[in-house]
Amino acid sequence: MKNNLLLLFAILSLFSACIGDDFIDDEIDERLVVNNIIDSLQVGSTFLFETTFFNNVGQIEQRTINWMSTNEDVLSINENGLATALAAGNTSLIANTVLDDNSTLEVDFPLVVTEEEVVIEEPEFEERSGVIQTTTFYTLEGDFVLREETDQLVLEIAENYQASSSLPGLYIYLTNNPNTTNGALEIGRVNIFSGAHSYIIPDVDINAYSHILYFCKPFNVKVGDGEIQ
């Protein structure tokens, strides 16, 4: 009888402890980003615009981008984003792509074509910033600045930062989808729970991610985020 009971309990345990699926709502709005916007171009010169499309879960996806100039007498642009400045004047450039639901996602920006020489400089070190906010009942708040340095980014968390020290295994990420760590860049484990501190992030473009994300690994749940403005 004892053997039968042991078998019964072992079977019950095995059958009732199967790994199932938990689904998370990770859908976000698609984004189309022109990576190298300029505001002026000299007559007779060309410039290749580059784009990145982020799909509805924040992943980079190759898409057909349609380019259009609102004043083709001033500037023409082909399907690859190669613009040719034809005559002095003002125009706007529009980049769009058709989404899965047949709606159109569009980005536009103005551009001046001039007879004067235009020097397109390498952008100086950029700086972006944002506010950390909790998305749970755990304390998490503060300001941050994401600063570009040679070959690295510095994420500076401000003096007003506060985070609960109770979460087991709190980690910080850079991500294009604040609802998931899927495709996110793990910066490291959070060991400081109040006050100013910083993280060094090597070999990452400052515009590569849209959010910072705080995530509890053991509970596998998002704790908070901050949009990088």
Binding site: F9, I19, G20, P168
Partner: protein, 289 residues
């Protein structure tokens, strides 16, 4: 037989026929024992935060299959053992609700679980108030860092020593004989875990000519928060550091005969901090010898 002696006799009959965890203030009589083969489990998709609110988490489960036993070495000294010989912990796959992509695969570990052994000493015998002192050792026989990144536990990885005082008494519940027990204890924990104050109350009675035993318990743990920060360890579920709870737990035991029976227990936390917020369940088959 005086009223008090009648109640004392009832308590012994009661404890023999449908034993409760650790026996309250009453030690086992010499040469007698109680053994239960049990399965205890909790499946949790939410937890209490550090401020007592409830937040979601990926579904975790812990299943302990084991033996609980008490045996009276003398009329005052009872040995106690809680041995989950098969413990399984798991967490679910995390799947994108948008694309169906597997984001984080679930994992499971199986191992021996954290066990407890102890000695209960009867401070009073055959008195209206039964007092006992228990020294119990928590043995870290489980896995404190299983799975990828040590995210799964079947134990906390620390050796602890609990000193507990129980006081029990019989009373009348209408026409029914009933008992009540309260306890308080101090759990000295090691390896960076905070010490704890344990407390609890339970009352029970036999129904239907002793065929059914009904028990309700209210018990809790208060952390002294004198150890490592919870954020500096990976433990979750029921093994997190600085966790606290106040739990309400009814139990029904069906006594097949004077020797054998089976029981079912439900437990739900009324209050908690850094601990799963879903109910736990336990079923078992027990035997009195």
């Amino acid at each position: 037989m005086s009223h008090n002696k009648y109640l004392i006799s009832f308590i012994f009959v009661f404890l023999f026929s449908s034993k409760i965890f650790a026996g309250g203030g009453w030690p086992q009589p010499k040469g007698h024992g109680y053994f239960k083969l049990f399965q205890w489990w909790v499946v949790a998709d939410q937890h209490f935060t550090d401020n007592g609110k409830i937040d979601p988490n990926v579904t975790n489960g812990i299943f302990n299959t084991g033996i609980y036993g008490e045996y009276g070495f003398t009329k005052r000294i009872t040995g106690i053992a809680y041995v989950p010989f098969y413990s399984r912990a798991y967490f679910n796959n995390l799947v994108s609700g948008t694309t169906g992509e597997l984001i984080d695969p679930g994992e499971a570990i199986n191992s021996f679980g954290d066990s407890k052994i102890g000695i209960k000493y009867g401070l009073t015998l055959n008195k209206p108030i039964a007092l006992s002192a228990t020294l119990r050792f928590g043995l870290p026989l489980g896995n404190a860092a299983g799975g990828t990144g040590g995210r799964l536990q079947t134990g906390d990885g620390e050796f602890n020593q609990l000193l507990q005082i129980d006081a029990g008494a019989g009373y009348k519940l209408g026409k029914l004989n009933a008992y009540a027990n309260i306890y308080a204890g101090f759990n000295n924990r090691t390896n960076g875990f905070s010490d704890e104050f344990h407390y609890g109350f339970e009352t029970g009675t036999n129904l239907f000519k002793n065929k059914l035993t009904a028990i309700v318990r209210l018990y809790g743990i208060k952390s002294l928060k004198n150890g490592t920060l919870s954020g500096e360890v990976n433990s979750t579920s029921i093994f997190a550091n600085n966790s606290e709870h106040l739990t309400f737990s009814p139990e029904l035991a069906f006594n097949v005969n004077k020797k054998w029976g089976f029981s079912a227990t439900y437990a739900t936390a009324l209050y908690g901090r850094i601990i799963f917020a879903n109910p736990s369940y336990s079923v078992g088959v027990f035997v009195n010898i």
